[in-house]
């Protein structure tokens, strides 16, 4: 065991055990209650708006490659894309997906095809739907601006890991009058999304998206386990800092083990 990681490892394993436990519970039909997440409720509305206006939905699943530490965010973005693609397939609404990472492109493309297939409309898939735009940050941003302006996108959904281009995409979307929904865990981009978008999924809310929208038992169960993790963090910080205040250092020392 690597020194300094023992406590982390214990916490890691306990958390995985929780995930498994709740998943098994969900399989036997016990699903947790989930509170409303307005940003996710708005997705249906956003697709509905695009359908009414007869203009496309523009979707960006972040800009990060699938083999990096940002992958979890990309995957969260792709999970929500799956849901959005099913909705656009169902309502015959035009969908455009802008991809920035070369190795995300085949995955995004497969997801959209599969979603249309599951809705019984594989013939509606066109190559333009999932476009690799550019892996260069601002070539990507510029291409997105062009698409939004050319298509007059009715709704713009940005979920994944974003960097500096976040503001440009969000405000650019607002300029064409689109309804904007955005989510990321990159903390320094969240403020831009909060300021410029109609709905924002803050941090963990984006990871809840797949579960919330698909109602998939396995994913929903994850949320319950995540909440236990947060309660642990909450109590550990509260009680630990109190103990530190009165002179006990072991809550800190234990984490360092």
């Amino acid at each position: 065991m690597v020194a300094g990681k023992q406590a982390t490892f214990v916490i890691f394993i306990l958390f995985l055990a929780l995930l498994v436990y709740y998943m098994m519970r969900a399989r036997s039909g016990k699903l947790p209650f989930i509170r409303r997440i307005p940003g996710l409720d708005a997705i249906e509305e956003a697709v509905g708006r695009a359908t009414e206006l007869g203009r496309p939905v523009f979707y960006v699943p972040g800009r990060t490659e699938i083999n990096t530490a940002g992958a979890a965010q990309t995957i969260a973005g792709l999970e929500i894309l799956e849901h959005v693609a099913k909705l656009t397939a169902r309502y015959d609404t035009d969908l455009k997906v802008g991809v920035a990472a070369a190795n995300v492109y085949p995955v995004a493309d497969a997801i959209v095809r599969q979603s249309y297939l599951e809705e019984g409309k594989p013939e509606k898939v066109r190559p333009e739907m999932v476009q690799f735009l550019s892996n260069e940050q601002f070539a990507f941003a510029a291409a997105c601006l062009s698409i939004m302006n050319q298509d007059q996108s009715a709704s713009v959904i940005l979920i994944g890991e974003f960097q500096a281009e976040s503001m440009m995409l969000a405000e650019g979307a607002a300029m064409v009058g689109a309804v904007t929904i955005a989510g990321t865990s990159r903390t320094f981009q969240i403020p831009f999304f909060v300021a410029a978008c109609d709905y924002t999924l803050i941090g963990e809310e984006m990871f809840a998206g797949g579960a919330y929208l698909s109602k998939d038992p396995g994913k929903t169960a994850n949320l319950a386990a995540q909440d236990i993790g947060k309660i642990f963090a909450f109590l550990y910080i509260l009680i630990g800092s109190l103990l530190v205040t009165i002179g006990y250092k072991w809550p800190v020392e234990w984490l360092k083990r």
């Binding site: 509170r35 260069e136 963090a233 800190v252």
Partner: protein
């Protein structure tokens, strides 16, 4: 050569800035050029990776293990065949396995270490702000707890802390974004128009 580069840079700048007036064909034309250049650059980098990490080990060291990722990489193209499309999942799964595992390392830096850093004594107003600000904001993210007045109030105060922090971060960003405008204007005024030194 330097003059050509400066002039080209100035024209690019003007084309991009024209978007601020209105989305227009000049902007779109340069946007397409930019995408093309970026794709070209991406291909160059990819070729260099293959050269350095596949070709060189193979030819100089006789390291045949690099053929595994090469084959996996080629399998990505199987998606163009209806019958064999599924084998493209193999490299994708390989990449996602890496990404998923790397993401999971967040348990240390983003979970344990952040909790650890918040274990500070309640001996100053600032420390209390950090400790309680953190846990109240955390309570905003409870998804599966049934609503209760106490919890709702905590989450509301947590949301306020988040808003203060978003406002501050937004305000802070102005500075960095202004620097970029300043740098671009320095280029236009100094290198192109020679108005400043």
């Amino acid at each position: 050569m330097t003059t050509a580069i400066t002039w080209a840079g100035a024209i690019c700048t003007i084309a991009i800035y024209s978007f601020l007036w209105k989305e227009n064909r000049l902007f779109r034309a340069f946007q397409n050029l930019y995408v093309g250049l970026a794709a070209g650059y991406g291909i160059i980098l990819a070729v260099r990776i293959v050269q350095r990490q596949v070709w060189n080990p193979l030819t100089t060291k006789g390291d045949y293990s690099v053929l595994i990722p090469t084959i996996l990489g080629i399998l990505l193209y199987a998606r163009f065949s209806k019958k064999w499309a599924w084998v493209a999942r193999l490299p994708m799964a390989f990449l996602m396995g890496i990404g998923a595992a790397l993401s999971m390392k967040a348990i240390e830096s983003d979970f344990v270490r952040q909790i650890q850093a918040t274990l500070i004594p309640w001996n100053s107003f600032n420390n209390i702000i950090v400790v309680f600000g953190t846990i109240l904001s955390l309570s905003y993210f409870f998804f599966t707890l049934k609503p209760r007045p106490a919890l709702d109030n905590m989450a509301r105060v947590g949301r306020w802390v988040l808003m203060v922090s978003f406002g501050a971060a937004f305000g802070n960003a102005v500075q960095g974004r202004l620097s970029l405008l300043i740098a671009q204007m320095q280029f236009m005024l100094r290198d192109w128009l020679h108005l400043i030194k």
